[in-house]
Amino acid sequence: MARIEEYGHDLPTEKDAVKAFADLVGPKVAEGLWGLAVQSLGLQRPVQSPADLRRVAEHVMEIGELSRVAGRSLKVRIITYEALARTVQS
Protein backbone atom coordinates (compact mmCIF):
# COMPACT_ATOMS: atom_id res chain seq x y z
CA MET A 1 0.00 0.00 0.00
CA ALA A 2 1.22 3.49 -0.85
CA ARG A 3 2.42 5.83 1.89
CA ILE A 4 1.26 9.44 2.14
CA GLU A 5 4.88 10.66 1.99
CA GLU A 6 5.10 9.27 -1.53
CA TYR A 7 2.60 11.87 -2.71
CA GLY A 8 4.61 14.80 -1.35
CA HIS A 9 1.45 16.78 -0.65
CA ASP A 10 1.32 18.80 2.57
CA LEU A 11 -1.75 20.27 4.19
CA PRO A 12 -2.16 23.81 2.81
CA THR A 13 -1.54 26.54 5.38
CA GLU A 14 -3.43 29.79 5.77
CA LYS A 15 -0.33 31.55 4.42
CA ASP A 16 -0.41 29.38 1.26
CA ALA A 17 -4.11 30.04 0.86
CA VAL A 18 -3.89 33.82 1.20
CA LYS A 19 -0.88 33.91 -1.16
CA ALA A 20 -2.76 31.95 -3.84
CA PHE A 21 -5.81 34.16 -3.37
CA ALA A 22 -3.60 37.27 -3.63
CA ASP A 23 -2.21 36.07 -6.96
CA LEU A 24 -5.72 36.42 -8.37
CA VAL A 25 -7.22 39.43 -6.60
CA GLY A 26 -4.19 41.30 -5.24
CA PRO A 27 -2.63 41.14 -1.78
CA LYS A 28 -4.72 43.84 -0.07
CA VAL A 29 -8.03 42.52 -1.32
CA ALA A 30 -7.04 38.94 -0.52
CA GLU A 31 -5.95 39.80 3.00
CA GLY A 32 -9.10 41.84 3.58
CA LEU A 33 -11.56 39.31 2.21
CA TRP A 34 -9.85 36.40 3.95
CA GLY A 35 -9.91 38.25 7.27
CA LEU A 36 -13.61 39.06 6.89
CA ALA A 37 -14.41 35.44 6.03
CA VAL A 38 -12.53 34.20 9.11
CA GLN A 39 -14.26 36.80 11.28
CA SER A 40 -17.74 36.03 10.02
CA LEU A 41 -17.20 32.35 10.73
CA GLY A 42 -16.17 33.18 14.30
CA LEU A 43 -12.68 31.76 13.82
CA GLN A 44 -9.27 33.07 14.86
CA ARG A 45 -6.24 33.63 12.64
CA PRO A 46 -4.13 31.81 11.83
CA VAL A 47 -6.66 29.24 10.72
CA GLN A 48 -4.96 25.90 11.18
CA SER A 49 -7.24 22.90 11.13
CA PRO A 50 -8.18 21.39 7.76
CA ALA A 51 -11.87 21.56 8.66
CA ASP A 52 -11.67 25.29 9.44
CA LEU A 53 -9.59 26.05 6.34
CA ARG A 54 -12.23 24.25 4.32
CA ARG A 55 -14.99 26.36 5.90
CA VAL A 56 -13.11 29.54 5.04
CA ALA A 57 -12.54 28.29 1.47
CA GLU A 58 -16.27 27.64 1.09
CA HIS A 59 -17.04 31.09 2.48
CA VAL A 60 -14.58 32.76 0.10
CA MET A 61 -16.24 30.88 -2.78
CA GLU A 62 -19.41 32.91 -2.21
CA ILE A 63 -17.72 36.32 -2.66
CA GLY A 64 -17.11 36.59 -6.40
CA GLU A 65 -15.95 34.79 -9.55
CA LEU A 66 -12.19 34.77 -8.99
CA SER A 67 -12.72 34.15 -5.28
CA ARG A 68 -14.85 31.16 -6.18
CA VAL A 69 -12.05 29.74 -8.34
CA ALA A 70 -9.43 30.33 -5.65
CA GLY A 71 -11.68 28.87 -2.96
CA ARG A 72 -12.44 25.77 -5.01
CA SER A 73 -8.72 25.23 -5.65
CA LEU A 74 -8.01 25.47 -1.95
CA LYS A 75 -10.85 23.10 -1.19
CA VAL A 76 -9.49 20.49 -3.64
CA ARG A 77 -6.04 20.75 -2.06
CA ILE A 78 -7.42 20.37 1.47
CA ILE A 79 -9.66 17.43 0.60
CA THR A 80 -6.81 15.77 -1.30
CA TYR A 81 -4.70 15.95 1.84
CA GLU A 82 -7.52 14.70 4.06
CA ALA A 83 -8.49 11.88 1.69
CA LEU A 84 -4.88 10.75 1.22
CA ALA A 85 -4.32 10.82 4.97
CA ARG A 86 -7.33 8.58 5.42
CA THR A 87 -6.92 6.19 2.49
CA VAL A 88 -3.18 5.55 2.38
CA GLN A 89 -0.72 4.56 5.08
CA SER A 90 0.88 7.25 7.21
Binding site: L24, V69, A70, R72, V76, I79, T80
Partner: protein, 164 residues
Protein backbone atom coordinates in the same frame (compact mmCIF):
# COMPACT_ATOMS: atom_id res chain seq x y z
CA UNK B 1 -1.80 29.07 -15.25
CA UNK B 2 -2.97 32.05 -13.15
CA UNK B 3 -4.07 34.31 -15.99
CA UNK B 4 -7.06 36.12 -14.53
CA UNK B 5 -8.68 36.44 -17.99
CA UNK B 6 -8.53 32.67 -18.41
CA UNK B 7 -9.80 32.02 -14.89
CA UNK B 8 -12.67 34.49 -15.36
CA UNK B 9 -13.64 32.47 -18.43
CA UNK B 10 -13.58 29.29 -16.34
CA UNK B 11 -15.82 31.03 -13.79
CA UNK B 12 -18.10 32.49 -16.49
CA UNK B 13 -18.90 28.96 -17.58
CA UNK B 14 -19.31 27.80 -13.99
CA UNK B 15 -16.66 25.12 -14.47
CA UNK B 16 -15.30 25.50 -10.96
CA UNK B 17 -18.71 24.62 -9.52
CA UNK B 18 -19.30 21.20 -7.98
CA UNK B 19 -21.98 19.88 -10.34
CA UNK B 20 -22.67 16.54 -11.98
CA UNK B 21 -22.30 16.89 -15.74
CA UNK B 22 -24.05 14.00 -17.44
CA UNK B 23 -23.74 15.71 -20.81
CA UNK B 24 -20.00 14.97 -20.87
CA UNK B 25 -20.33 11.27 -20.07
CA UNK B 26 -20.79 10.23 -23.70
CA UNK B 27 -17.70 12.19 -24.68
CA UNK B 28 -15.33 10.46 -22.25
CA UNK B 29 -16.88 7.05 -22.96
CA UNK B 30 -16.39 7.59 -26.70
CA UNK B 31 -12.80 8.71 -26.24
CA UNK B 32 -11.90 5.73 -24.05
CA UNK B 33 -13.48 3.31 -26.53
CA UNK B 34 -11.86 4.88 -29.58
CA UNK B 35 -8.42 5.13 -27.97
CA UNK B 36 -8.73 1.76 -26.23
CA UNK B 37 -7.66 3.30 -22.92
CA UNK B 38 -8.96 2.44 -19.44
CA UNK B 39 -9.32 6.12 -18.52
CA UNK B 40 -10.60 9.29 -20.16
CA UNK B 41 -11.22 12.61 -18.44
CA UNK B 42 -12.50 16.11 -18.98
CA UNK B 43 -10.57 18.30 -16.57
CA UNK B 44 -10.53 22.03 -15.89
CA UNK B 45 -7.38 23.88 -14.85
CA UNK B 46 -8.02 26.30 -11.98
CA UNK B 47 -5.25 28.39 -10.40
CA UNK B 48 -4.01 25.81 -7.89
CA UNK B 49 -5.99 22.67 -8.69
CA UNK B 50 -7.49 20.74 -11.55
CA UNK B 51 -11.11 19.65 -11.24
CA UNK B 52 -12.57 16.70 -13.08
CA UNK B 53 -15.89 17.34 -14.81
CA UNK B 54 -16.37 13.84 -16.21
CA UNK B 55 -14.43 10.62 -16.17
CA UNK B 56 -14.39 7.15 -17.66
CA UNK B 57 -12.66 4.46 -15.62
CA UNK B 58 -12.00 3.90 -11.94
CA UNK B 59 -10.22 7.03 -10.70
CA UNK B 60 -8.41 6.67 -7.35
CA UNK B 61 -10.76 7.06 -4.37
CA UNK B 62 -9.01 10.19 -3.09
CA UNK B 63 -9.28 11.88 -6.50
CA UNK B 64 -13.01 11.17 -6.62
CA UNK B 65 -13.46 12.54 -3.11
CA UNK B 66 -11.53 15.75 -3.81
CA UNK B 67 -13.10 16.15 -7.25
CA UNK B 68 -9.64 16.81 -8.67
CA UNK B 69 -5.98 17.07 -7.75
CA UNK B 70 -3.41 19.74 -6.94
CA UNK B 71 -2.51 21.60 -10.15
CA UNK B 72 1.11 20.40 -10.11
CA UNK B 73 -0.11 16.84 -10.78
CA UNK B 74 -2.27 17.83 -13.77
CA UNK B 75 -0.89 16.25 -16.95
CA UNK B 76 -3.14 18.61 -18.94
CA UNK B 77 -1.27 21.58 -17.48
CA UNK B 78 1.13 21.34 -20.43
CA UNK B 79 -1.76 22.14 -22.78
CA UNK B 80 -1.60 25.75 -21.61
CA UNK B 81 1.77 25.99 -23.34
CA UNK B 82 1.60 25.18 -27.02
CA UNK B 83 -2.17 24.90 -27.24
CA UNK B 84 -2.34 21.73 -29.32
CA UNK B 85 -3.05 18.06 -28.70
CA UNK B 86 -0.08 16.32 -27.12
CA UNK B 87 0.90 12.76 -26.28
CA UNK B 88 3.36 11.39 -23.75
CA UNK B 89 4.06 7.75 -24.60
CA UNK B 90 5.87 6.97 -21.33
CA UNK B 91 5.19 9.28 -18.39
CA UNK B 92 7.74 7.45 -16.26
CA UNK B 93 10.51 8.27 -18.74
CA UNK B 94 9.57 11.92 -19.14
CA UNK B 95 11.40 14.30 -16.76
CA UNK B 96 8.29 16.50 -16.52
CA UNK B 97 6.19 13.67 -15.11
CA UNK B 98 8.40 10.88 -13.79
CA UNK B 99 8.13 12.16 -10.18
CA UNK B 100 4.40 12.86 -10.36
CA UNK B 101 2.61 10.66 -7.77
CA UNK B 102 -0.07 9.85 -10.33
CA UNK B 103 2.76 8.08 -12.16
CA UNK B 104 4.95 6.85 -9.30
CA UNK B 105 2.14 5.74 -6.98
CA UNK B 106 -1.04 5.42 -9.01
CA UNK B 107 0.63 3.86 -12.04
CA UNK B 108 -0.47 6.01 -14.96
CA UNK B 109 2.06 5.47 -17.76
CA UNK B 110 0.85 7.13 -20.95
CA UNK B 111 -1.17 10.20 -21.80
CA UNK B 112 -2.78 11.91 -24.73
CA UNK B 113 -4.70 15.17 -24.32
CA UNK B 114 -6.25 18.01 -26.29
CA UNK B 115 -6.96 21.51 -25.00
CA UNK B 116 -10.50 22.71 -24.36
CA UNK B 117 -10.66 26.10 -26.06
CA UNK B 118 -13.48 28.37 -24.94
CA UNK B 119 -15.34 30.52 -27.47
CA UNK B 120 -13.22 33.43 -26.28
CA UNK B 121 -10.00 31.56 -27.02
CA UNK B 122 -8.84 30.57 -23.56
CA UNK B 123 -7.64 27.10 -22.64
CA UNK B 124 -10.08 25.92 -19.98
CA UNK B 125 -8.49 22.51 -19.40
CA UNK B 126 -8.15 19.31 -21.34
CA UNK B 127 -9.82 16.22 -22.70
CA UNK B 128 -7.42 13.36 -22.16
CA UNK B 129 -7.02 9.60 -22.29
CA UNK B 130 -4.70 7.72 -19.96
CA UNK B 131 -3.30 4.22 -19.93
CA UNK B 132 -1.45 2.17 -17.34
CA UNK B 133 1.03 0.91 -19.93
CA UNK B 134 3.50 2.85 -22.04
CA UNK B 135 2.22 3.21 -25.57
CA UNK B 136 2.39 5.47 -28.59
CA UNK B 137 -0.61 7.40 -29.90
CA UNK B 138 -0.69 7.92 -33.68
CA UNK B 139 -1.29 11.37 -35.17
CA UNK B 140 -4.87 10.55 -36.12
CA UNK B 141 -5.60 9.94 -32.41
CA UNK B 142 -4.52 13.52 -31.72
CA UNK B 143 -6.76 14.82 -34.51
CA UNK B 144 -9.68 12.75 -33.18
CA UNK B 145 -9.11 13.96 -29.64
CA UNK B 146 -8.99 17.61 -30.75
CA UNK B 147 -12.35 17.15 -32.50
CA UNK B 148 -13.82 15.55 -29.38
CA UNK B 149 -12.44 18.38 -27.24
CA UNK B 150 -14.29 20.86 -29.46
CA UNK B 151 -17.47 18.83 -28.98
CA UNK B 152 -16.93 18.83 -25.20
CA UNK B 153 -16.61 22.63 -25.22
CA UNK B 154 -19.70 22.98 -27.40
CA UNK B 155 -21.63 21.03 -24.76
CA UNK B 156 -20.02 22.99 -21.91
CA UNK B 157 -20.97 26.33 -23.47
CA UNK B 158 -24.49 25.06 -24.12
CA UNK B 159 -24.90 24.09 -20.45
CA UNK B 160 -23.00 27.05 -19.00
CA UNK B 161 -24.24 28.05 -15.56
CA UNK B 162 -26.18 31.30 -15.98
CA UNK B 163 -25.05 34.17 -13.77
CA UNK B 164 -27.08 34.46 -10.54
Amino acid sequence: MRSTARLRDVARLGLDRELHRDYLGDVVDTVAAAMDTPFALVDILLDDAQVILAGHGPVPEWVAEAGGTPIEWAFCGMLLFGSQARAVPDLAADPRFRDNPLVTVEGFRSYVGAPLFSSTGHVLGGLCALDTRPRAFPDDDLVFLAEMADEAVRRIELHATPPP
